[in-house]
């Protein structure tokens, strides 16, 4: 499992990359994409939509199942990564480059983990 040092993580396996205090990119972690398997469809929110920290805001589908993606941040969807709509496999190929959305005007967030904490968390989760 690959974890990048300069990102933050959630217990629901999203990564967050802050551009500044009010702006961040959100995507799915390497661990999450491996667990989900080959993704064949992704559904993203609309630009301008408000997001609520901890609420589902996108979903990803493999041939077998659909899974929710949770937004770790309260804010507004500034930009969506349209490339993913046509090529969901990018999430599998390079999960940390395949950002889902850019969230702006951030006012709140869920509990965020550092790279080290996230790694420990996943290890514990897989041992159970």
């Amino acid at each position: 499992m690959q974890v990048l040092e300069d990102l933050f993580y959630t217990k629901s396996h999203e990564w967050i990359k802050f551009e500044d205090e009010k702006t961040a990119l959100v995507g799915l972690t390497d661990y999450a994409q491996k667990e989900l398997g080959e993704l064949v469809f992704v559904n993203l929110p609309e630009e301008g939509e408000e997001t609520k920290a901890g609420a589902s805001f996108a979903d990803v589908e493999s041939v077998k199942a659909v899974s929710d993606v949770y937004c770790p941040l309260t804010g507004v969807v500034g930009t969506i990564n349209e490339e993913l709509l046509d090529a969901p496999e990018l999430i599998n190929e390079s999960p940390y480059a395949a950002w889902f959305v850019k969230i702006e005007d951030i006012t709140d967030k869920v509990e965020l983990l550092s790279a080290e904490e996230y790694e420990e968390y996943v290890q514990k989760e897989t041992e159970e």
Partner: protein, 376 residues
């Protein structure tokens, strides 16, 4: 607690991702994943453990008469070594199961049933048995491996003599050998490709698996899990019990009219089975024309009017688009009919298309795809 098939240890060795299915722990996929496994079967060959399937032996002077009464198809004109597909109906025409009957010899038939229905089927058969006919559940001791794909024959020929391999679809050879192991070889499958299903004693299954994997190395044979089995059968529009049919859906509605012989004498469910022209609903294919994947048990609408429900649906790896099967009011089953299916709060547009979605030999979409999956 889930049971293990005789190939459980083998799956672990090949890094199968094990999940509970019909009371067994079986691989949903191996390392390469569902899509690559699917493509291997369409273009080369794949190996499946289908030991969870149930096998019931029917023996006795009245075996044929029992089958004629229990099942909707007609078995009177079967030759030894032939296989025949049939639904089994309840009194009201609903489907108890769908199965394959092999005629092994006069007064002896092997019936292969769905794993999840095995106990129900066996009880049903015993309950309705009459005269001199004995039903025996031999599932426990029987393992089954499916070798599927355009290269299946080439691979099997390396391990079995030419006269041990059946020459036609829905034919089988009994008491033959492959890789030196006693087995039955049937030319059948659930993928829409050419291929074989090999039945053997459970204790011999790991050796057979390894022999096939070794023999298929050159051809690019890979192990495939339940995930690919499901996407392959869906592309080929093969119905699955519990999805396209169940106790409340009759086989004519499922599109299995070819295996329902209304002209034969009495059989269970006959009075409730309509001819094609009297159907009020039937199975169709839906091709997604909008964005999204339609799964099973979604409602289908035309102009805000509910016209039926989906029974299976996924992204089709070979065709490259999402598709579903649905049981719809016959008034809306014309090819080209536009429908909408609400999926998780969004309206997904789809269109009624002919079945199957995929037919053997259909060529792949583009050069890029060919390169991606190593097809020449």
């Amino acid at each position: 607690m889930e049971l293990h098939t005789p190939l459980y240890e083998t799956h672990l060795k090949y890094h199968g991702k094990m999940v509970p299915f019909a009371g067994y722990l079986l691989p949903i996929q191996y390392e390469q994943g569902v899509i690559k496994e699917h493509m291997a079967v369409r273009t080369r060959a794949g190996l499946f453990d289908v030991s969870h399937m149930g096998e019931i032996l029917c023996k006795g002077e009245d075996a044929l008469a029992n089958l004629q009464y229990l099942l909707t198809n007609d078995f009177t004109n079967m030759a030894e070594g032939q296989a025949r597909y049939s639904p089994m109906c309840n009194e009201r025409g609903g489907t108890v199961d769908d199965l394959i009957v092999y005629k092994q010899k006069e007064n002896q038939y092997l019936i292969v049933v769905n794993a999840a229905n095995k106990d129900k089927d066996f009880k049903w058969m015993r309950k309705h048995a009459f005269g001199k006919a004995e039903f025996t559940d031999i599932s426990e001791m029987t393992a089954q491996i499916a070798l599927q794909g355009p290269k299946a024959k080439e691979i099997l020929q390396k391990l079995a003599a030419a006269d041990s391999i059946p020459g036609k679809y829905y034919h089988a050879r009994f008491d033959v050998k492959a890789a030196g192991i006693p087995c039955m070889i049937s030319q059948t499958g659930y993928t829409g490709e050419d291929g074989y299903e090999i039945y053997m004693d459970g204790k011999d299954a790991p050796a057979m698996w390894e022999a096939l994997m070794e023999a298929g190395k050159e051809e690019g044979l890979i192990p495939c899990g339940l995930g690919a089995r499901d996407t392959l059968r869906l592309e080929a529009a093969m119905p699955l019990y519990g999805h396209e049919m169940d106790d409340t859906v009759n086989p004519v509605e499922t599109g299995l009219g070819f295996a329902v012989k209304l002209q034969k004498e009495d059989f269970i469910g006959k009075a409730y089975l309509p001819g094609k022209e009297l159907l009020t609903r039937k199975r169709v294919g839906l091709k997604v024309t909008g964005r999204g994947i339609i799964r099973e048990q979604e409602e289908v609408f035309v102009n805000h009017q509910k016209i039926g429900f989906t029974t299976s649906g996924t992204h089709c790896p070979y065709l490259g688009y999402p598709a579903a099967m649905a049981i719809l009011d016959t008034a809306y089953t014309e090819i080209g009919t536009k429908v909408t299916v609400p999926v998780r709060g969004r309206q997904v547009e789809a269109e009624v298309v002919g079945l199957p979605f995929y037919k053997k030999g259909l060529s792949i979409r583009s050069g890029n795809e060919k390169e991606k999956y190593g097809i020449k």
